[in-house]
């Protein structure tokens, strides 16, 4: 009996001594951590995708708390809602960042871009890209082995078996940029989502001269500069035989879509063209001059309406 009592007392004594030592050690070596880091981390979506450029949500939270001005930070997954919440926690004013979305800038479907050879190596875009130019005459376009789809953590992409191109499911895309980094040919771009998800972009990255590009792919940008001349807002620049639309300058007037001879410029989520552009609810941003020009162009545009509708559905 006494052995049991001694044992219990001895253990209790050791426990108490150890607790006292631990208490003082903990006091001495205490690491101060800003409690706001935990709060901010709590507010973030915990996707740990790295889309913000930091190693996971914790790393992003630390950077946010440390920063004096968080207006340049953006969580692409949470978007404006999360950022304003974080801003409130940290006492910063937040201007809503424009939401972005990934866009595949290649329309080289099996039909548009015939195969000239067959690749039978390891099924990885990076490996194919390091070996040669790809299965078609276009050395810039999609290689079709789906490395971007593998990289997507949000199930927002799939490979369309018919076209051989990746498709982005807009509603699921959080614009983390994993696919952009995964693509060895840099055909995926994060672009402004636009009002009502309406976007206009050049669906081609081919820098070859017009004739070469056209021979390789029916819908390649041939660098003809028609769109550049047509654009009333100087949003389009042609460099290295390739047009690029600056989404910050583009007012979605769709005039470039009409003049493009190879249908390389795509419009997404617009209503059918028969509806006059002036009636477009987004037209409030369009300058009056442009609206007038558009009305004049409208009859010309009509035959194109069906084409562009098809493209839209292809790309969606």
């Amino acid at each position: 009996m006494s052995i049991i009592a001694i044992t219990i007392l001895a253990l209790c004594a050791i426990g108490v001594t150890a607790a006292i030592i631990l208490y003082f050690v903990a006091q001495k070596f205490k690491v101060y951590e800003d409690p706001r880091i935990d709060e901010v981390e709590e507010a973030l979506p915990a996707a740990n995708c790295g889309g913000c450029g930091y190693p996971g949500c914790r790393g992003f939270a630390e950077a946010l708390v440390k920063a004096d001005d968080i207006s340049n930070f953006n969580c692409p997954v949470g978007g404006a809602a999360v950022m304003s919440h974080v801003g409130a926690l940290l006492g910063h004013e937040i201007k809503a960042a424009d939401p972005t979305v990934a866009v595949v800038r290649c329309n080289g479907t099996c039909e548009n871009r015939p195969k000239t050879n067959q690749y039978d190596g390891a099924a990885s875009c990076s490996i194919a890209a390091s070996l040669y130019s790809g299965e078609t005459g276009c050395q810039y376009g999609c290689l079709g082995l789906g490395e971007c789809v593998e990289a997507c953590n949000f199930d927002a992409m799939y490979m369309d078996e018919e076209t051989g191109l990746p498709v982005i499911i807009e509603d699921k895309c959080v614009s983390c940029g994993a696919c952009v980094k995964a693509c060895p040919n840099n055909i995926i771009e994060l672009r402004k989502k636009g009002p009502k998800s309406r976007r206009i972009f050049v669906s081609c990255v081919n820098k070859d001269k017009g004739a070469v590009a056209k021979k390789a792919c029916n819908v390649a940008c041939i660098g003809c500069r028609k769109c550049e001349k047509e654009c009333p807002f100087d949003a389009i620049t042609v460099e290295n035989n390739l047009a690029y639309i600056d989404y910050n300058k583009c007012k979605l007037c769709r005039k470039c879509v009409v003049v493009c001879p190879t249908n390389a410029i795509h419009e997404l989520n617009f209503p059918p063209r028969k509806e006059k552009p002036a009636a477009n609810p987004d037209a409030k941003t369009v300058k009056p001059v442009a609206t007038k020009a558009e009305v004049q162009d409208a009859p010309k545009a009509e035959p194109k309406a069906n084409d562009s509708k098809d493209e839209t559905s292809d790309n969606k």
């Binding site: 000239t116 050879n117 039978d120 190596g121 390891a122 990885s124 990076s126 490996i127 390091s130 070996l131 040669y132 130019s133 790809g134 050395q139 070859d208 001269k209 070469v212």
Partner: protein, 442 residues
């Protein structure tokens, strides 16, 4: 017992179908396209423009740095255009396209067959002429030869090793050069010895070419300091480090160049090109390539002008067989499949292999069974199965630590893998990424 390198290696079926076929001269095509980048290093700068008249041997693109090479016209005629055309890997590269008119050579080029044994040029003159002639390593790596001959300060070359191994299956162009141009090769070797200031050269030849060994041994008796070294047939003995290990039993440290152990390695075809450049003033405008394949009518060796379209040499060898599934530029182990036959033959074209469809089909990849065969055949002592996984998982730190940069891309691992894993494909990818990271760090 015959010498060979210390670790790893395989012995694939040799298939030297064209070994008995003497070198023939391929007719000059009507049009040649000469890419300005046919070597490792900076592309040359074109110095001709549309409409210019050029003669055979005339400089058309100038070397644009120390590691770069001059490009000469291989034909006489008019420059049709300087434009981007497709190369063997499908990318568009600047090339000079020349319409052929006659065959008019520059006057200072000695076209006689007469052997010039006397080496009158000094060390500096030799290196300059080799550089001017645009000679690159003709084994297939196309590293500019004059760079290798310029021994960096503080280092000394002790021995010149001539790579006459031709360890790739199917290829026989070096074999034929040794048999038909033996004396020229040996004079070329002496020129290289003079440039490097060494008094010993070893010519390494695998014993699957007994006639070449016998022929060169007989001729070498007339030349000072050249030793013929028969080697056991083993792939990849033609790798620089493997050849050094096999012939002089020295190991080049990881990340170092052969000069670190006092050796300089040059290909036997390069030795012949050096002879022509220094003794005959002839720049590198033609070379020998093997065209071969089991279904091909006439596997043979051809001396072609640089820039000749691939389809011309296929025609010359009896046309493309019906069952061709893949056309490989180079040998079956390290060669690369061509994406089109409209591309030109270049300085690095050592062979063209037309493989029948059933031989090219990749078998389905299965899981690694941990047999360790890839580790035992790797001539660099690496662990290919592990490197493949690291490359797939993008663990570049681990790849660098495990010496992925030492990989010589010989393909022995992929060849031997019983689970058909694309080991080399992934390792090459990882190697490229690690190389980028290492360059960025500098």
């Amino acid at each position: 017992m015959l010498k060979t390198f210390s670790i790893g290696g395989i012995h694939p079926a040799e298939n030297k179908l064209s070994a008995e076929s003497a070198i023939q001269v391929l007719p000059i095509p009507q049009m040649v396209s000469i890419p300005i980048s046919q070597h490792i290093g900076a592309p040359a700068t074109p110095i001709v423009k549309k409409g210019d008249e050029v003669k055979v041997g005339q400089l058309i693109a100038k070397s644009s740095g120390f590691v770069s090479a001059n490009i000469h016209s291989s034909v006489s005629g008019t420059v049709f255009k300087v434009d981007e055309i497709m190369d063997a890997s499908g990318f568009r590269r600047t090339s000079v396209i020349i319409n052929v008119e006659g065959d008019e050579w520059l006057e200072h080029i000695d076209r006689s067959e007469e052997l010039v044994k006397e080496i009158s040029a000094s060390k500096e003159e030799i290196i300059k002429r080799v550089g001017d002639a645009g000679i690159v390593g003709l084994g297939g790596a196309t590293f500019p030869a004059h760079v290798k001959l310029s021994v960096p300060p503080g280092k000394t070359a002790e021995v010149l090793i001539i790579n006459a191994v031709e360890c790739e299956p199917y290829l026989t162009s070096d074999h034929r050069i040794m048999l038909e141009k033996g004396d020229e090769v040996l004079v070329g070797t002496q020129i290289l010895m003079k440039a490097l200031e060494v008094n010993k050269a070893i010519i390494g030849i695998e014993n699957n070419k007994p006639d070449a060994i016998a022929h060169l041994t007989k001729l070498a008796a007339n030349y000072n300091g050249i030793e013929i070294c028969p080697l056991k047939t083993q792939y990849p003995q033609g790798g620089e480090k493997q050849l050094i290990s096999a012939t002089i039993k020295r190991e080049v440290p990881s990340g170092a160049l052969p000069i670190e152990v006092g050796a300089v390695v040059q290909n036997v075809g390069t030795a012949y090109a050096v002879y022509e450049a220094v003794q005959k003033n002839k720049p590198l405008i033609e070379r020998v390539a093997t065209i071969t394949g089991k279904s091909l009518k006439n596997p043979s060796n051809w001396m072609f002008r640089i820039g000749t379209p691939v389809k011309d040499i296929i025609e010359a060898a009896g046309g493309m067989p019906e069952d061709t599934g893949k056309i490989v530029g180079g040998g079956p182990m390290m060669g690369k499949a061509l994406s089109s036959i409209d591309v030109p033959l270049t300085k690095g074209s050592s062979g063209l292999l037309l493989l029948p469809r059933e031989e090219t089909a990749r078998k389905a990849t299965k899981a690694c069974i941990r047999c360790g065969k890839c580790v035992s055949v790797c001539p660099m002592g690496l662990e290919p199965y592990l490197l493949m996984v690291c490359a797939d998982k993008k663990d570049y730190e681990r790849l660098e630590k495990d010496a992925v940069m030492d990989c010589i891309e010989c393909g022995s691992c992929s060849y031997t893998c019983p689970a058909n894993r694309p080991l080399l494909d992934y390792i090459r990818l990882g190697k490229g990424k690690v190389g980028q990271i290492m360059r960025a760090r500098k």
